[in-house]
């Protein structure tokens, strides 16, 4: 495996491309294979839910905090879930300090849209009183190491965080909000399990889950979010163009691979148990 931190030489690029032409990857994977996922959850004591997810060399630690606020006027009985991502300069020499740049906003937005349009977060159950008080969930992703394809890693990380969440349950009374002592957990917060799958494209070759050297030489990427049987969000980025046939093929493939991955990860096991 190539040890790449910042730049890819022309020779390395040719090596990656020639291997892909033979349907081989530089790390020995097949074209439609994910790297290994490693997941641990609920290790941050200060957060109301957290997950530490590695996808190959990529690693994202996500935490959940909550607040009580007013609902949006057009959705008076629905809670809010916002997703933020930070590409820490700690994670790679490619990341710089300062306010969120395009790349970190794209990561947060793509993960957010995948979750938002899949009916994943049970926003109606996050309402305490209509027009007055709803839960606002903050899911914040911090990239600890950049090894390529942060979007898929972040997608699983955000989902595992929501599943592991334990938010105190509040009841609306005349004196304001009172805590019942119970928690909103697992199914109270999460309904569908959307997964996002990202494909890289170099010349006319398409492959799943680009690692960092592949991502650096990619012409473009396509991220597809899928639930059990539906496509819920797509993002094309980079300068590559995709043919209609390719996109149809990738859509079908995503549902198929997504189903496999969902079974393999078995994310419901990360729901916390409170005695």
């Amino acid at each position: 495996m190539m040890d790449v931190k910042r730049v890819i030489s022309t020779i390395e690029r040719k090596y990656i491309v020639n291997n892909l032409k033979k349907e081989e990857r530089i790390d020995g994977r097949g074209l439609w294979e994910f790297r290994e996922f490693q997941i641990s959850t609920d290790m941050v004591a200060s957060a109301e839910g957290s997950a530490d997810v590695s996808l190959g060399e990529s690693r994202i630690i996500t935490g959940l905090k909550y607040d009580i606020g007013e609902p949006f006027p057009d959705l008076p009985d629905e809670g809010v879930c916002t997703i933020m991502a930070e590409l820490l300069p700690l994670a790679s020499p490619l990341f710089e300090r300062g306010p969120p740049d395009e790349q970190s906003i794209e990561l947060a937005r793509v993960v957010d849209r995948g979750i938002r349009h899949a009916d994943c977060v049970q926003t109606k159950k996050l309402c305490i009183k209509e027009k007055e008080a709803v839960y606002i969930l903050f899911v914040d992703m911090y990239v600890i190491n950049h090894g390529g394809n942060l979007i898929d890693c972040g997608g699983v990380s955000a989902l595992a965080t929501l599943i592991s969440a334990h938010v105190p349950e509040g009841k609306y009374t005349e004196n304001g909000i009172e805590w019942t002592g119970n928690y909103l957990m697992g199914e109270d917060i999460v309904n569908e399990l959307p997964l996002v799958l990202t494909y890289g494209k170099i010349e006319d070759m398409v492959f799943l889950d680009p690692c960092l050297p592949e991502e650096l030489v990619c012409d473009g990427r396509l991220s597809i979010s899928v639930t059990e049987d539906k496509i819920t969000s797509i993002q094309k980025s980079g300068s590559a163009t995709f043919s209609m046939d390719e996109i149809q093929m990738l859509g079908k493939k995503s549902i198929e691979i997504g189903k496999e991955l969902r079974n393999k990860l078995d994310l419901w096991q990360y729901k916390v148990k409170i005695e």
Partner: protein
């Protein structure tokens, strides 16, 4: 892990049996775990768990200084960026760096600079990024400790490691290594750091009230505690090379078997 909703301070910081709320003796440290080389992209890195504190540190450098006017023609610069994750504290922290984070970054940078040979690296910068994932009191000491470990892991020439620990006063008693609740509800807090090459203090802050005798005890207990932490730092550095050695031995054994 589930926390209680209330963020209130208890009346007493000692239990009936004379131990502290988390069951520690007065001079006992919280469980401490360190590891180096955890972030592959960095030139050097370290991870620390100290009680509920969880902190990553990564070193990049020597590299070009941005913005350029901060570069010094005759020596390198050490830049430390201490940040906390939004979910590392009870009330969600705002994502942008605050005044506290900037001050602590500066304090840590001033604390570690004496052990480096910056005059060997004119015009360049060593950048150390510290990310607090979970915070429970004493993060500036923990960050200093882990940052010096990350610099050593990066192979930056150093006169010695730096070790930091907080000593303080709770309910009138001097204790070592204050937890989050002891820090907030206690009477005094004194973080200190020791540079081992000259046995002197390189970080010292104090908030609270203490008489001269208590202050002397604090310094003495602080040094004793720092010595224990120093051994853990050394072990963390050693264990990386022991594991490399073992893997080399193993592979040379297996290749020997093939011949």
């Amino acid at each position: 892990m589930v926390l209680i909703i209330k963020d209130e301070y208890p009346d007493k910081l000692f239990r009936e049996d004379g131990k502290r709320l988390d069951g520690r003796e007065k001079t006992e440290l919280r469980p401490l775990k360190m590891e180096v080389g955890v972030i592959k992209n960095a030139d050097g890195s370290a991870y620390l768990e100290w009680g509920n504190n969880k902190i990553f540190a990564a070193v990049y450098g020597p590299r070009e200084v941005h913005p350029h006017h901060l570069a010094k023609p005759d020596r390198g610069v050490l830049r430390i960026f201490y940040r906390m994750a939004t979910y590392s504290v009870f009330d969600r922290k705002r994502p942008a760096p605050g005044r506290r984070e900037k001050e602590i970054s500066m304090i840590i940078s001033d604390c570690i600079e004496p052990v480096l040979f910056l005059e060997l690296y004119p015009g360049t910068a060593f950048e150390v990024f510290i990310e607090v994932i979970d915070a429970d009191g004493g993060t500036r000491c923990a960050s200093t400790t882990v940052a010096s470990l990350a610099l050593a892991d990066a192979g930056v020439p150093m006169k010695s490691l730096v070790t930091a620990v907080a000593v303080g006063k709770i309910d009138g008693e001097i204790v070592v290594d204050l937890s989050g609740i002891e820090d907030k509800a206690g009477d005094a807090d004194l973080p200190l750091a020791i540079t081992w090459f000259n046995d002197e203090l390189s970080l010292l802050q104090f908030d609270g009230s203490m008489d001269a005798d208590e202050f002397d005890t604090c310094l003495k207990l602080g040094k004793e505690a720092a010595e224990k932490i120093y051994q853990i730092q050394l072990d963390a550095l050693r264990s990386k090379y022991i594991s490399i050695q073992e893997s080399v031995n193993q592979s040379s054994n297996t290749s020997g078997g093939d011949e």
